[in-house]
Amino acid sequence: MSNSSKQEFKELLTRDAKSGKLGRRDFMRFAVAAGMSVPLASGLWTSEVAAATPKKGGNFRVGVHDVNTSDTFDPGTYQSVGMIQLAHTHRSYLTEITPENGLGPDMADSWSATPDAKVWTFELNKNATFHNGKKFTAADAIASLNHHRGEKSTSAAKALLTTVTDIKAKGDHTIVIELNQGFADLPWVMTDYHLVIVPAKADGTADWEGGVGAGPYAITSHKPGISTLLKRHSGWHREGAYFDEIEMLGLNDPNARQTALITGDVDAITSVDLKTVALLGRNPNIEVDNVPSGSAITLPMFCDVAPFNNVDVRLALKNAIDRNDIVEKIMFGTATPGNDYHVSPGMPYAPTDIPQRVYDPDKAKFHLKKAGMSSLKVSLSAADSILPGAVDMCVLYSEHAKKAGIQIDVKREANDGYWSDVWLKKPWTFVKWGARPTPDNMFTLAYKDDAPWNESHWQNKRFNELLLQAKAELDDTRRAAQYREMCMLARDDGGTVIPIFVNFVYARNKKVQHGPSLASSWELDGGRGYHRWWFA
């Protein structure tokens, strides 16, 4: 056996053993047969396989960023990273994003739709209970979803459920959701971080104030902006929740976070300072997880405002940006280049065959000429509160664009009120979007012609037709083709430059273990590391 095939065989063995297909005895036999010595094979079992088998116990202490004194338990106002992490730990959702970025069951066991995708039926888990001992029933699911619906709702997730016309219970453990248009993605939408399940009050409203949930861990102490302590919920209906206790500590200062990890005050942190990530990775006790995410940086141009109303100007600007340079210099390698369509590689239906747009000043000049211009001067607004390094990124872009005869004036805007005074107000801005579960979700929010957040004012008839068709399409192949065509339209006609998708970069002590893949929806395995990970 050659060395390389030996290596391959070893990896194959390890993988099978990790997934439970091979026991220790078989593992040893195969390994020794393949020419490995007994101590070597035994060592491999201990270091690779045994470590990958979850063990119960321990107090998992996590330094979380973006934790605020103003955080509340109201699911409608979840906004901070701290609350999103906590929500996935003490509460739960109807469905979940799996570590492989697929869709899996959580509070709902299964779901099905009518062929027009207008009526959805969710079968709920019969064993799930809330932390106060109450059995989970359809009434709780309905109250939780209705919290985000209706005139009086102040929820930020209201827009997600506007097409829902009615939610009814069918027996104790089935709910039926009716919509006024076909919507194939509804089970994906149920993973949105706002849509947690909370107990219903007697009057049918959601009981969110006390922080009771049906998640893997129950809160024992919660000090807003400081820390939250949780212990395992004995009545949790699923596998996992290996840690006995969880301690989530608000550590907003990047240096404090990393110091705490290095000195062993915490076992994991939710975000690493990109400038020092290489140094942190050199520490032998620490493992950095660099996970591509669906969170995109977008630079939307108003397609109805000169000079952006000319598609060649837009294409010139899209060709005048060196994405790899930005990934390397601004993001220190922790990002994935964008391709001017807002579907990240981890999303379902993400097209894989669209050529990557590269930095090409000559092509930019060509488009500029086609637009009847020899030079172009535009201004781009950004603020560092959107992304640390946002302004630097724009300045670097303006240097790239100079080679194509384009002058980009970078305007540093005030951090305060950026969302209310700059975004959707100025013709070209810097925006960061959190990860959304599906292309439909993203396109409907920010690219549909009449969306309030159509940040580029882009109007494309074919795109909007396709969006409606794909929405109700239950056939996956046809759906993928529709999304591919929409991506091409956004890329070649749309008004949004997408420089990069940012990665989630978090770190943990080596004694904390996780499975072979990590969900890309939020930090720490989609906010679910708390019940998926374990201490070796």
Partner: protein, 318 residues
């Protein structure tokens, strides 16, 4: 003695008026900030629809003066309102955090004040010596460095490399005092380094100033040792300016700790104030600022009373 009571009462009255003016300024400033609480809470997720719903719920659709006077009316009766976001009473939100801030301030002051005055006396005694120069350079360096930088340096050398004190000053109510003192040593030390220079140099300057006066000359001529001249003869007369500087620095220990709190993740009032300002949570901002203002007013008053009491001529007017 009656005079002092009159002065204190007068100053307290003026202090109340100052607080009232400050409350107007703070309200105006929060109003002037771009965006409002509804936008801050809902952030990027805000639509006109749910913004309006939230504003109505919080009563923000009413005119600014109406809201201010409503707050003032309640505040006079001792009700500082509820946090607009967490809906908990402001006193509850501030309570333990202000206690923590005071704890850290007192801890730092108990180290800083004796050290500063002792050093001040010693450098005055050995003025212009190498010791004097070194002490001056070191304290001036520490006062000139930003607090967060000092904090990081201490974390790196003492906590990470030395492994002596914890880098994160998380404390809670059921910790023993000893644990608390251990956990908060680094932030306290940072603040000591920041405030020592000012107090030390003022002590040194006022002592040296007095050393040129005839009565000190007299003491020297009759053969009193140098250290005794300073401690017994000059220091009592130097108290007034020193007390003023000490009071100023104590106020700073309470109000100027935001950066130290952030670096050491200390659950004090500064972090709460910063969060409240970003979210435009007016009742919390107002209460925090008024606490800070009151701290300044009271410590200044204490300084004035202190300098009167330590000055025999003011204590026994003819």
């Amino acid at each position: 003695m009656g005079d002092i009571v009159t002065i204190v009462l007068k100053r307290l009255g003026l202090g109340l008026i100052t607080l009232l003016v400050i409350s107007v300024i703070i309200f105006g400033a929060v109003e002037l900030l771009p965006g409002d609480i509804a936008q801050a809470v809902l952030g990027q997720g805000a639509t006109e629809d749910n913004l309006a719903a939230l504003r109505t719920e919080l009563g923000l659709d009413r005119a600014a003066p109406v809201r201010y006077f409503e707050w003032l009316f309640n505040a006079i009766q001792g009700d500082f309102g509820k946090s607009l976001i967490s809906k908990t009473p402001v006193s509850e939100a501030i309570g333990t955090r202000f206690g923590n801030t005071l704890f850290l301030a007192v801890y730092a002051a108990l180290i800083a004040v004796p050290v500063a005055i002792f050093l001040g006396v010693v450098v005055a005694l050995f003025r212009n010596s190498v010791f004097d120069r070194v002490a001056n350079v070191l304290t001036l360096t520490s006062i000139s460095s930003p607090e967060f930088f000092l904090g990081y340096v201490l974390i790196l050398f003492i906590a990470v490399k030395g492994g002596f004190f914890p880098a994160i000053a998380k404390i809670d109510d059921d910790m023993s005092l000893l644990d608390k003192l251990d956990r908060t040593f680094l932030p306290a030390l940072t603040m000591v380094l920041v405030v020592v220079a000012h107090m030390m140099r003022m002590t040194r300057a006022s002592i040296i100033n007095l050393l040129a006066s005839p009565y000190v000359e007299m003491a020297r001529l009759k053969g009193v040792p140098a250290w005794k001249v300073i401690v017994k003869h000059t220091l009592p007369n130097a108290w007034a300016p020193v007390i003023n500087v000490v009071a100023l620095n104590l106020a700073y220990l309470v109000t100027g700790v935001v950066l130290v709190e952030v670096v050491f993740v200390y659950p004090g009032i500064g972090q709460l104030l910063v969060d409240a300002v970003t979210k435009r949570d007016f009742p919390v901002v107002q209460a925090c600022c008024l606490i800070f203002a009151a701290t300044f007013i009271l410590l200044n008053l204490a300084a004035d009373v202190g300098s009167i009491l330590t000055n025999p001529r003011l204590r026994h007017p003819k």
